[in-house]
């Protein structure tokens, strides 16, 4: 499903170039549950946003379902993102001016889901995440953990074939964290490909494979 060949990412700095990712190569098959780990600043978020097509400025080859992402124009990448990907940001990134309900509704309406259906799906999701009571609140009225829950709910709501989650449990109580992980595992069983970043050893075990990043290099892969 995902095929990466020599992905490199660098930033121009005063003196020269600082590399954030070095010669990243690897394959992720459909239905896998992959965990990316590594110390802060290792490049995990960067790699995830490249795979999520949120970042277009990198070198190397990236095939998604056999299609060469590296050769695509930004518009085509956005289309791919829309078609396959649900993304959970490390900083949640909820839309401040929209209520919880509307934040959940947004991905559906961007995908031209009819109003009736949208209502049903959003209601289901609110239920599933036990946040029905919060649906009319704005993000600023939620705690950090609650915001994270909404962010996860928003990522899965359009039933993407692939979920990219950047520390989806970072701010959560362990019971809620466990609930999120159970949910991801369930989605995975139903066929959704999951790629997560986490610092939590226990949650890392939900995946079938762990990739260790350090200073932009893949240092280890364990099944």
């Amino acid at each position: 499903m995902i095929k990466l060949r020599n992905i490199e990412k660098s930033f121009k700095t005063g003196a020269g170039e600082t590399f954030v990712l070095r010669r990243i190569s690897g394959d992720i098959e459909k239905g896998e549950f992959v965990t990316i780990m590594g110390p802060s600043g290792a490049g995990k978020s960067t790699l995830l946003s490249i795979m999520g097509m949120l970042d277009g400025d990198w070198r190397g080859e990236y095939y998604l379902h056999g299609e060469p992402v590296h050769a695509m124009k930004p518009r085509a990448r956005i289309e791919l993102n829309k078609k396959y990907i649900g993304f959970v940001f490390q900083q949640y990134h909820l839309l401040d001016d929209l209520t919880v309900y509307e934040n959940l509704e947004i991905p559906l309406s961007y995908r031209n889901v009819k109003r009736k259906d949208r209502q049903a799906i959003v209601a289901d999701t609110l239920d599933r995440f036990q946040i029905v009571g919060k649906k009319d609140l704005y993000p600023s009225q939620l705690s950090g953990g609650q915001q994270q829950l909404v962010a996860v709910a928003r990522a899965i709501i359009a039933e993407p074939t692939m979920i990219l989650a950047d520390e989806p449990t970072g701010s959560l109580h362990s019971s809620q964290g466990g609930m999120i992980m159970d949910l991801l595992a369930e989605l995975n069983r139903e066929g959704t490909t999951i790629i997560q970043v986490t610092h939590n050893e226990a949650y890392a075990q939900y995946g079938n494979r762990i990739i260790q990043l350090r200073d932009g290099w893949i240092v280890e892969e364990q099944e």
Binding site: S49, L54, D57, I78, K82, H93, P107, S109
Partner: protein
């Protein structure tokens, strides 16, 4: 559709959650649109609206006499008109007309009314039918034996006459001549000119009986005195008519070279502003439209800048939306809808504002002789104009920021808060500086003009306008002539001077500073100028003896007129100081003789008996020229002003003056009484008009500049809330934060102040001819408006500054 509704809902949400942004943006737009709506209402009312009540108004034209090069739009000589009428077959009917003021007597009382004298064909040209009775008949156009008839306007019939149906067939007296009311014009027809709504229509041929005109005016090609309108014949176009008119004039020029060599004709479509005035009115309105257009453009640019700035601040949101699957088109649609909504709010608000502004316009209080009726109420055209203006500006300026801000890459926009980057901030600062400069220039003009007007009261006019009141009596309308007229005038002055509070009273045919003058040539005995000509151009006035005392004009030498200077005694004149300086610089002018080139008294010699101070006769900016005063008791003139100097208020003197005149003859029709100060204020009308316009536009520009500065400062404060919070957490006091914001605001305005200041210091030199001698660099005016502008800029920065200073660190840090 579904998504548009959703976008609309979010757009409304944005407005509700950021009311200040929406208010500043839509208020700015409202001011821009409002100013345009107001001016365009004027354009529509004066130039675009069809003349009401006229059938097929597009087939009606006005004809005017021009010079052969096509310039000018003047009155006709009647024989020329008759030739045009018979020879131009592109016209199906042609009518001559004049505008008049009449005296109408009913039940022993007289009143002033407005009216037209028209060819009977006038109503055919206009295509109107009588509401009652009939219009004028063809035989009423025959020379000499014109039966005395009159058609009343519907408003006059239904108002003062109480819609009495028996009025038709009854007899009224117009200028003392009994005339029969034959019909009533329809209610929707009020004449064919803006501002002039006649009460009555009389046949042109009754001019000799009603106005006392010489019957010869219908035969002389030398005297031009009436205007003309025509209806195009079926199938004929305006150009055909114009060509035919020119060719008739070309024939007349060779047939009557004495009178017609310099004449041709012009044909223009019928409009509410008469053909002669349309050019200047259109030019004036064009200048105004250009000015308010410029204001709107700057406003739109600034509002677009506000949108860009806000969209920059929203880059994170835009990035998230893109990450959630929004297409660029969808995003642009949303941003455009948000912008359009604000533009729309501004447009509606502006239209209301513009219409309200117009309501404040004192059209009916202008000091002009004929009552002006101007319908400035908004019509469909105006509403459409405002709507189109809003839509176009919204569609042009709305998408710009959207296109600009959806171009960025995703991760960068998700990462930083996008505040400091982007050249759009610089563009926006540029626009705000432009607004500041524009308002400084307009305010400086207004300040200089107002200061100039202030000086008006101290400009030496040569007379004293305060404490004097006046009205007018025209004995031509009242059936007096010659000796009986002089007798009545003497009784009038005597009676008016006897009003208890009055100190003196006088009659004269002209008054100072009223934009008008009477000119002729004087021929001093034994004198010639350096070119050997024996005549000198002078202004003149016919006055009763107490005129100089009543107007407070100082007597410099000799004496003024007395009640013994009457017909049959030695003919005497009083001259002005400048007259003496130009003609008799050496020796005493007293006892010198001159002739005056006036019809009827051309051959008489007049002896100078006195010299008086120079008086500004037309406008405050006049340089006085030679002036000759003739005694009214020696030469009868029927149309005079009655001036009284009195110790009292208008409310007391006005009615007393009227009563005194009516005591002499209760049937006289008397003009409304006004104070001499108000009457002569027409002499500074150009200054007042210019001051009013620049003040109005200057105030708008100032408000916009204030809003612009406020918008930028408030925005940067909101962007820096976090930074401010951190600074305060690190120990910055509120005063320091306040000063930081204030410095930002003033720094923003500074380039505009400098550029505006440079331009403004030149403006005075351009306006010099209106400044009544004020220094074009008048420090009070220029300094004053600069300070005003600075104060507004400071205020616009203080408001967001206070908000910034009130932030507590914890709030600020949480707002991320």
């Amino acid at each position: 559709m579904d998504r548009i509704r959703q976008d609309l809902r979010f757009a409304v949400r944005q407005i509700v959650r950021r009311p200040v942004f929406a208010a500043v943006a839509s208020l700015s737009l409202a001011i821009g649109v409002g100013a345009n709506t107001a001016i365009f209402s004027g354009v529509s009312a004066l130039l675009l609206r069809p003349v009401p009540g006229v059938s097929e108004p597009e087939r009606v034209v006005e004809i005017g006499r021009s010079r052969p090069d096509g310039s000018g739009f003047d009155s006709f000589a009647y024989p020329d008109f008759v030739d045009l009428r018979s020879e131009v077959d592109a016209f199906s009917s042609v009518a001559a007309y004049t505008l008049e003021v009449f005296s109408l007597s009913r039940g022993g009382k007289g009143e002033r009314i407005t009216g037209m004298m028209v060819s009977p064909t006038y109503f055919d040209v206009m295509g109107v039918r009588p509401a009652h009775g009939r219009f004028l008949l063809a035989e009423e156009d025959r020379p000499g034996s014109a039966p005395a008839t009159v058609v009343l306007s519907h408003a006059f019939w239904s108002g003062p006459l109480g819609a009495d149906p028996t009025v038709v067939g009854s007899t009224v007296r117009v200028n003392r001549v009994p005339v029969e009311v034959v019909g009533i014009a329809p209610a929707d027809f009020t004449g064919h000119m803006t501002g002039f709504q006649p009460d009555v229509y009389l046949p042109l041929r009754s001019a000799p009986t009603v106005l006392g005109r010489d019957e010869n005016v219908f035969e002389q090609r030398g005297s031009s005195w009436h205007m003309a309108v025509a209806r195009l014949a079926p199938g004929a176009e305006l150009d055909d008519a114009a060509t035919q008119v020119r060719s008739v004039y070309a024939r007349l020029a060779s047939a009557y070279p004495d009178t017609n060599s310099d004449r041709s004709g012009r044909v223009v479509p019928l409009g509410l502003v008469p053909g002669a005035g349309r050019g200047p009115v259109a030019a004036f309105l064009t200048v105004l439209m250009a000015m308010v257009g410029l204001i709107l453009l700057v406003t739109c640019a600034n509002v677009a800048g506000m949108f860009v700035a806000r969209a920059t601040a929203r880059e994170r949101e835009i990035g998230i939306r893109l990450a959630l699957g929004a297409g660029r088109g969808q995003l642009i649609q949303q941003l455009v809808i948000e912008a359009l909504l604000i533009f729309f709010m501004g447009g509606v608000l502006g239209t209301v504002l513009g219409v309200q502004l117009l309501g404040l316009l004192p059209v009916d209080r202008l000091p002009v002789p004929i009552p002006i009726v101007l319908d400035l109420s908004p019509d469909v055209g105006v509403l459409f104009f405002s709507f189109a203006l809003t839509l176009v500006t919204g569609l042009v300026f709305g998408p710009l920021p959207a296109l600009q801000t959806t171009r960025h890459d995703l991760t960068t926009s998700l990462k930083d808060d996008g505040a400091k980057r982007s050249g759009t901030g610089r563009l926006r600062r540029f626009f705000v500086a432009g607004q500041v400069a524009l308002s400084l220039v307009l305010l400086a003009s207004a300040g200089l003009l107002l200061r100039g007007l202030q000086r008006a009261s101290s400009v030496e006019t040569g007379f004293d306008a305060s404490g004097a009141y006046l009205t007018g009596v025209n004995l031509d309308m009242e059936g007096y002539e010659g000796e009986s007229g002089t007798l009545l005038q003497r009784q009038l002055v005597e009676r008016v001077a006897a009003i208890p509070v009055a100190t003196s009273a006088a009659l004269s045919i002209d008054l100072p500073l009223d934009m008008g003058s009477h000119g002729t040539s004087a021929y001093p005995e034994g004198w010639s100028d350096t070119d050997g000509r024996g005549g000198i151009g002078v202004d003149f006035n016919h006055v009763s003896p107490a005129f100089f005392e009543t107007l407070g004009i100082p007597v410099l030498q000799g004496r003024v007129f007395t009640d013994d200077d009457v017909a049959g005694t030695e003919r005497v004149v009083v001259v002005s100081r400048t007259m003496v300086r130009s003609v008799w610089p050496e020796g005493s002018p007293l006892g010198r003789r001159l002739r005056v080139g006036l019809a009827g008294i051309r051959e008489e010699w007049w002896t100078v008996v006195g010299v008086v101070e120079d008086v500004k006769n037309q406008m405050l900016t006049d340089t006085p020229g030679p002036f000759v005063y003739l005694p009214l008791w020696q030469v009868y003139r029927p149309d005079t002003k009655v001036v009284v100097r009195a110790a009292g208020e208008m409310s007391a003197v006005g009615p007393a003056l009227r009563r005194a005149i009516l005591e002499v003859d209760p049937t006289l029709s008397v003009e409304p009484v006004i104070s001499l100060e108000r009457y002569t204020s027409v002499g500074v009308l150009p200054q007042r008009l210019a001051a009013a316009i620049t003040t109005g536009l200057g105030a708008l520009a100032l408000l916009l500049a204030g809003l612009g500065v406020y918008g930028v400062v408030a925005f940067s404060v909101s962007q820096r809330t976090r930074e401010i919070g951190v600074r305060m957490a690190l120990g910055a006091g509120r005063g320091r934060v306040m000063r930081m914001v204030l410095r930002g605001g003033l720094g923003l305005a500074l380039p505009g102040l400098i550029v505006g200041g440079v331009v403004a210091s030149g403006v005075g030199f351009v306006l010099r001819f209106l400044l009544l001698g004020l220094n074009p660099l008048d420090p009070v005016a220029l300094g004053g408006v600069s300070l005003l502008l600075l104060a507004v800029v400071a205020l616009a920065s203080v408001v967001p500054g206070r908000r910034a200073a009130a932030v507590t660190p914890i709030e600020a840090l949480r707002s991320e």
